[in-house]
Symmetry: C2
Subunit: 193 residues, 2 copies
């Protein structure tokens, strides 16, 4: 009766997630909370019309400065029907990329921590927006999305209820879901002339 706690499972790498290092990271941060303070950064440069490019190069966290080693430059534009040249998706569509990829990374980490092998994770996101807001045609229509819907398909070596619980836990701990649903203070300053 003394062993009521389940035996601690030895984590193994799974789904491409280095699960032992993930657990070690969480333990390290638990012991030194300042390691958890991150600052992410982006620098955007206008090109012409509605086109711009953003570089996402450096960030701080885990007690140091870091430089990304993968893709770091991303474009944005407006479509032709909104008087752009459609060189790239609109800024609001990158919000959909952010929510889908955040929930999906969480799903992979959580499944791996739970010892579940995933075979497929897909998600489709839709956002409804009434552009009378941003076009200045109505003060009663908000500028941004009115609603966003994310629909996941998830397959792996666990029953459907356990797979659904992984998505739910990812949602409950998603940074992007929190920002999109609860909002965040944004300040805008200008150096002009």
């Amino acid at each position: 009766m003394s062993q009521v706690a389940p035996p601690r499972r030895q984590p193994k790498p799974l789904n491409g997630v280095d699960t032992p290092t993930l657990f070690a990271t969480i333990e390290a941060v638990a012991g030194a909370p300042d390691l958890a303070r991150f600052q992410f950064r982006a620098s955007n440069r206008w090109e012409k019309g509605t086109q711009s490019r953003t570089r996402i190069e450096t960030f701080s966290g885990a007690g140091g400065e870091h430089t990304h080693i993968g893709d770091v430059e991303f474009p944005a534009d407006h479509p032709k029907v909104l008087v752009g040249e459609d060189k790239a998706p609109t800024p609001v569509e990158f919000l959909l990329h952010a929510i889908a990829s955040c929930l999906t990374a969480g799903v992979a980490n959580i499944a791996s921590a739970r010892g579940i092998t995933l075979t497929e994770v897909r998600s489709d996101v839709e956002g409804d927006i009434d552009l009378r807001g941003i076009l200045g045609l109505s003060n009663e229509v908000r500028n941004g999305y009115q609603s966003i819907r994310v629909s996941f398909t998830i397959k792996g070596d666990a029953p459907p209820d356990k797979l659904r619980a992984i998505v739910e836990q990812s949602r409950a701990r998603s940074a992007v879901y929190d920002v999109l649903t609860n909002g965040v203070p944004v300040t805008v300053s200008v150096n002009a002339g």
Copy 2:
């Protein structure tokens, strides 16, 4: 005394913005509000670990279906310090791309509508986040950013106060600023098994 309204300025293309078409679009939507109903979409597919890719291909609006003609596929990952492979920026960094590029597209459109030629528009964005939230180490720390700061540099053929007013008007009509500061309902559904 009958002509108190200023003479209507004939808009000209400026800054790479097709200003006449922009005004014509706004007039068309004013006359047929249903044209303003847009739906943006994204489809994400998990690759491995924290890596996934999102395709942003189609959207509806202006009374029809449309397919993007520019870049449509974008990756996301976690950095090595967060147990990813750093093939691409994190999902939360794409939120910074979204806010910078949205404000910048608005700046270009508004400057052009006001007859102001821009020579430079840059912005730096920072977001502060305490990862004890998403790591499940604290229920008092939020999962998402605690604050986001956007710093613009804008130059053109207008006095600084008019250039600052362009950024302010862009902020006031930005779809991404609205979503990030006010939040939006996000629903997540799951097809498992």
